[in-house]
Symmetry: C2
Subunit: 267 residues, 2 copies
Amino acid sequence: MGSHVFDQAIALTAVSPNLYKGATSEAFANMVGPFGGVTAAILLNAALQHPERLGDPVSLTVNFAGPVADGEFEVEATPLRTNRSTQHWLLLQKQNGELVTSATAFFATRRETQSAQQLSAPVAPAATTLQRLDINIRNWFKQYDFRFVHGIPLQPRLASQPHDTETLLWVRDYPERQLDFASLTALGDVFAPRIFMLRDSFTPAGTVSMTHYFHAVGEELSNVGSGFLLGRALASRLHNNYADQIAHLWSEDGVLLLSSTQSVYFK
Amino acid sequence: MGSHVFDQAIALTAVSPNLYKGATSEAFANMVGPFGGVTAAILLNAALQHPERLGDPVSLTVNFAGPVADGEFEVEATPLRTNRSTQHWLLLQKQNGELVTSATAFFATRRETQSAQQLSAPVAPAATTLQRLDINIRNWFKQYDFRFVHGIPLQPRLASQPHDTETLLWVRDYPERQLDFASLTALGDVFAPRIFMLRDSFTPAGTVSMTHYFHAVGEELSNVGSGFLLGRALASRLHNNYADQIAHLWSEDGVLLLSSTQSVYFK
């Protein structure tokens, strides 16, 4: 276990084959239970450190089934099927025998192929020219260095601003930490529910399902180091209690590292 | 079971609690095994017809773990957790005891709320002004009425055409069939691997994971009837054997019914 607060939060102890135990971290507390991004990273981490693991994560879907209570939990990590160069995982987080989070993950060994990036990074001022957002109303906010370009949630709008759901921001771990698959997983979940872009005050909302596609391979994560990522999130439709969210994270030099989608409950 | 070829293809028989059996359909055969959209619809159908089902599908993630052989299969449909108005499912398709497809689904009862569509339907000529694409190189193509606006896969490009991965098309079941959650699930998977937009000839490729978000509620599906859907698909990045795909399906009157993402293997 590294000494960084994020490494402490995602640490798991092997109990028996396919079974790990861990505990929630006060540092990543959200309003109810922990920040979902850290829960997602914990589930991925069970597969990452499993002795039968093959290759690197390509996709991860996390379903937030019920609130995670403060304290201990178990993670069952089962390789459902392993092929020559691909592997499918089922990951179940439980507390007192009850499921709180389920996930599936797809891992693969990857080779060089034709490569094309279709979605360019949006134009944005350099992170270093922007102020760190100083809001500490949730513990987990303190673990990130957020520098908003536009789209701060729950802010009254000028009439001249487009009434849309887009946020553009720079973000990295705080204190700084070398990017890896686990921290990229959590960083993909830092955007507030998009309904907050259409409202001026807090209302109940939360992610029910999240899917990450890891475009980044290990070398690209190393190249980022502890640099800022540029993140953009927006919704396609918000309707009858559920909204989607499409998010992307780019490196400072414009490499698309992660595509992510969410289905988000709102009242 | 309806008499439509799609209803026959997704039909399941209850064997015991949480266990169903079915068989692949020659009508939906792809190059290797069945069309993935029909496999996804079969897994969703197990939850849809389960006696403990609560509400309607909001999200579905399907992981294609191995080839589905022609013939019989089993589907294990387990409600992992049921809350007051939400339900989480695990769906496993097996052949001879081996996992071939895994899925998770999230269902919910939905109420009227603030509603906003952020992503408008692209401008396109009416479906009736376009020719049905007459290609029958795979059986499953015959079960759909495809009318391409642009972005036919594996076509040589004019130098003047943008070298991108976008397809825009109209599509509906053929013969016509009233839209429902199962057919919308399959329709969300009709786009060819995006790598085929950058290549002139066929190379091995296939979806490894697909996530659908159902914006549509039952009344909106009824309103579509058997009308055409406008579908757009594009990739964000193709790199080291895997590409993503973001797709959306709108009704003829511009209501966003489905947001979908895929992770797609390519050689």
